[in-house]
């Protein structure tokens, strides 16, 4: 044995080898600036449709087979788009709605965030440790945003499917698409027992069903939160008055417009078809239905007073 050979590392140290890596200049990677003011739901739809364009041509062309790896990436992309939507919506709501703000006041925030972030970005930091990778987290968020003890049946219904997508996501994130035992239990062990350890490789049309669940989930969530948040303003200001809000609906559009717009612009679909109804249509409809309740309450109070 020569000296040179004696100084060499044993072969089994080097079963794999790697090349030189350059330092990552991550700052330049985030090259796309924030989009101009668009609603959370519009941003989600744009993201979702951009993901769709990556795989839908496989559905249109009968001869093309979609790579299984792409399917996993699409699911992850969708989860990311949904989470981004939920965070953006929450952040804005904390900023404009006193009741939602009050609900989140108790939550702890990291010292770094408190020290360095702008005030309007603080709520985003608040949610950074929360993941929306299962239905329970979404329900919790709904209850906080809407000051509700229960989740409406409509949301419950779509969350069942959402949870299934979350199970698939878990396989894609942690096991490169292979179905693990826990996820098989989540999806229904009886029917999934035979495909444990199989890899997620759907057809493009199946993947678009998953995409459809996610889009419908966001549309449903968006509609329900908008409704509940507006109803809560009336409840706290008129129906069972508390001093939660620092302002009050005046029921004249001239005075209420800017306040209503803050809600409207966060929830309305403007960039997709069909578009949401116009701001004034929604305002007048909101006023008509809520004034009826307020008037009925006043009439009942007057009657009770007369009776007493």
């Amino acid at each position: 044995m020569t000296d040179a050979q004696a100084n060499q590392e044993p072969l089994f140290y080097k079963i794999t080898s790697a090349q030189l890596t350059e330092a990552l200049n991550t700052r330049v990677y985030f090259s796309r600036p924030p989009r101009p003011k668009i609603s959370a739901v519009d941003e989600f739809l744009q993201n979702a449709y951009a993901i769709n364009k990556l795989f839908l041509h496989f559905e249109a062309g009968p001869d093309l087979e979609m790579p299984a790896e792409l399917a996993g990436l699409v699911v992850l992309g969708y989860m990311s788009a949904v989470e981004s939507y939920l965070r953006k919506l929450t952040r804005h709501l904390i900023g404009i709605d006193d009741l939602v703000c009050q609900k989140f006041e108790q939550k702890p925030l990291s010292f770094g965030a408190a020290l360095h972030l702008k005030k309007e970005m603080l709520p985003e930091a608040l949610l950074e440790n929360i993941s929306f990778s299962d239905a329970a987290a979404v329900k919790e968020l709904y209850r906080s945003l809407c000051d509700a003890s229960n989740v409406p049946a409509e949301l419950e219904a779509i969350l069942q499917d959402y949870n299934r997508v979350c199970a698939i996501r878990h396989c894609c994130v942690h096991r490169f698409g292979r179905l693990g035992m826990n996820n098989a239990v989540q999806l229904g062990l009886q029917s999934h027992k035979s495909v444990v350890e199989h890899t997620f490789a759907p057809k493009a049309s199946d993947l678009s069903m998953i995409a459809n669940v996610m889009v419908n989930f966001v549309r449903t969530f968006n509609g329900l939160v908008f409704k509940a948040v507006l109803l809560n303003t009336v409840k706290h200001q008129y129906l069972s008055p508390k001093d939660t809000f620092s302002w009050k609906w005046s029921w004249t559009i001239r005075k209420d417009r800017s306040r209503f717009r803050q809600y409207y612009e966060m929830f309305a679909v403007q960039l997709d078809v069909p578009r949401s109804s116009s701001l004034s249509d929604l305002y007048f409809d909101f006023r008509a239905s809520e004034k009826k309740k307020i008037d009925a309450k006043a009439a009942k109070a007057a009657k009770d007073a007369a009776g007493a």
Partner: protein, 571 residues
């Protein structure tokens, strides 16, 4: 003629009710023909099996169900019968476009309708201690509120949501059995009318899931559906799980004339005698197995003045035009079927043409059958033919094979009124008279059907043009590639279809076939221009009565007629 009979006949000519939904019970009981096919239907409706009662509009499905229901109320030895109609299903269609939990709303509605009907039965049987809504922990008002809310396609309030949660398949199943025990019957049949739900296939699948779950040792569901539908969803296999009972009486049946004539006699009595026997027989053939059509033709002929033969021919032509208009209206209702409906009409015309030529050349036998080679059918042409069968324009006979699987024919008989309207049975030396036509139709059938290939009936160009007219992407205008597509493959946007029901609400009465000009003008004078206007009125009668000369009687008559057409149009 006794005074009583005269009065009855008078009533028959002025207010004669053709739709079984609105027939008075006494008429239902005494005016029902028994014998052959209708007896078989009645027996099937009270037996222990699950069954599908199959037939096009107006062939007597509702009549037989209501008749069976009435008999079962009176006769303690029969099973308990609960009659429920689902003809308002389309009102829930908007949910499919707006709510992710549309199917659970639909299930609640189906079960509420059953509970509502159970309460009706309990009251009829004077079971005052039994309360169907209470059996699931609710009140009658709760059930009515849920039904009314869901039929407006409005979101349930949280209180209603809680009520809806109490109504489950289990709780309703238990309630049905409780009612059965209270009534002292050993079994129960659920007579589920208008269960075809043709315009909402999503609901059809859910419906049959519900029905399968309600089926038990003591509960046998019976559903009325249209012919042509063969797909009831992945979990319900019609041929294995249910007994299929045709109600549509084929004209080839040896008792066809006798049965139809008996129906006319029972319902019309002496009034029908005004029309000659030969003419009545011709009308019976022209009705193509549909009692409702026969009664309507009889009424038109009995009340018309003028030459009988002319009236007869005119009424048959009008009848044919009516059914073709009804069929064509499908393209208005479901725009996706526009091409299918148009090509189906071409096929139907071609069949009529071929059959006319065949009959004109025949001497002492008739030809009512056309056989089309089975392998010719693709999923699209299959769907086209289904629409014709569903509309009652083609009757499909059981399949026969002539040597090997390649020579399998599907055999059809086209609507007789359409053949009569082109004088298929009165050609050459045969006269135009009703007697001559009936004689010809009574002659022995030709030994073999006319055999054709689909591409000899329709040109290759026409066949190539058959397609489902899918709406383009609303965002970028790209055509869709298939029916089940969720997103546009070009721009990625979610594809959304407008609600069928909402669109139908904007139709004017001019687009609804079958309404008389008088009914149309009465409505439009009051500013009730669209179907939606009519359904939105809380009290449409009051609005109508604002017109001169229209009082309580007339307004209600107009409304019943319009409502009936609209209900039919919306199913």
């Amino acid at each position: 003629m006794s005074a009583q009979v005269a009065n009855q006949n008078d009533a028959a000519s002025s207010d004669f009710e053709l739709r079984a939904d609105y027939i008075e019970e006494a008429v239902l009981e005494n005016g029902t023909v028994t014998g052959d096919i209708y007896d078989q239907v009645h027996v099937a409706l009270i037996d222990k099996t699950m069954c599908l009662v199959v037939g096009p509009r107006g062939c007597g499905k509702t009549h037989m169900m209501r008749y069976t229901w009435l008999k079962a109320i009176e006769n303690k030895t029969l099973p308990l019968a609960i009659y429920v109609s689902f003809n308002r299903y389309l009102r829930l269609e908007p949910f499919l476009k707006t709510k992710v939990n549309a199917l659970s709303y639909f299930q609640t509605w189906v079960l509420c309708r059953i509970l509502h009907a159970m309460q009706d039965v309990a009251e009829r049987l004077e079971l005052w201690n039994f309360n169907a809504p209470a059996a699931v922990g609710l009140s009658s008002n709760d059930i009515d509120a849920l039904i009314s809310r869901l039929e407006k396609a409005a979101t349930l309030t949280s209180a209603e949501e809680r009520n809806a949660n109490l109504i489950s398949l289990e709780s309703v199943g238990i309630a049905i059995n409780a009612l059965r025990v209270a009534a002292g019957r050993s079994r129960c049949v659920l007579l589920l009318d208008d269960a075809a739900l043709t315009l909402t296939p999503e609901y059809l699948i859910e419906f049959f899931d519900v029905i399968r779950s309600l089926k038990s040792r003591t509960v046998a569901p019976k559903c009325s559906v249209y012919p042509g539908t063969t797909e009831y969803g992945p979990r319900f296999h019609a041929r294995q799980e249910a007994h299929i009972i045709p109600v549509w009486l084929p004209v080839e049946d040896s008792h066809y004339l006798a049965t139809m004539m008996a129906i006319g006699d029972k319902r019309f009595g002496l009034e029908a005698q005004k029309i000659s026997e030969a003419a009545r027989k011709q009308l019976a053939y022209a009705a193509f197995g549909m009692p409702r059509a026969y009664l309507s033709l009889l009424r038109d002929n009995a009340t018309a003045s003028g030459q009988q033969q002319q009236t007869l021919n005119k009424s048959i032509q009008q009848h044919r035009d009516g059914i073709l208009a009804e069929y064509a209206s499908l393209a208005t209702k479901v725009p996706q079927f526009k091409t299918l409906v148009a090509k189906g009409r071409e096929l139907f015309d071609a069949i009529i043409d071929v059959m006319r030529t065949a009959n004109v050349n025949l001497i002492d036998e008739r030809q009512l059958l056309i056989g089309i080679e089975r392998p010719d059918f693709t999923p699209l042409t299959e769907r086209m033919v289904k629409l014709l069968i569903e509309a009652g324009l083609l009757y499909e006979h059981p399949e026969v094979s002539h040597g090997g699987p390649d020579r399998t024919y599907r055999r059809f008989t086209p609507h007789i009124a359409a053949l009569m309207a082109v004088r298929a049975f009165s050609g050459r030396s045969r006269g135009q008279s009703a007697a001559a036509i009936v004689d010809f139709l009574n002659s022995k059938p030709a030994k073999h059907p006319i055999r054709r290939k689909l591409n000899t009936l329709l040109s290759d160009k026409s066949l190539a043009e058959i397609r489902i007219d899918l709406p383009a992407c609303q965002k970028c205008g790209t055509r869709r590639v298939n029916e089940n597509q969720k997103f546009c493959h070009n721009c990625g946007a979610q594809l959304s279809d407008s609600s069928l029901f909402s669109r139908l609400m904007t139709l004017t009465f001019g687009q609804v076939p079958g309404l008389t000009p008088f009914l149309r003008s009465s409505m439009t004078k009051q500013g009730i221009k669209t179907i939606g206007d009519l359904l939105a009125l809380d009290d449409p009668g009051t609005e109508l009565r604002k017109t001169k000369y229209i009082g309580v009687q007339r307004s209600s008559k107009i409304l019943v007629a319009v409502q009936a057409y609209i209900d039919e149009f919306l199913t």
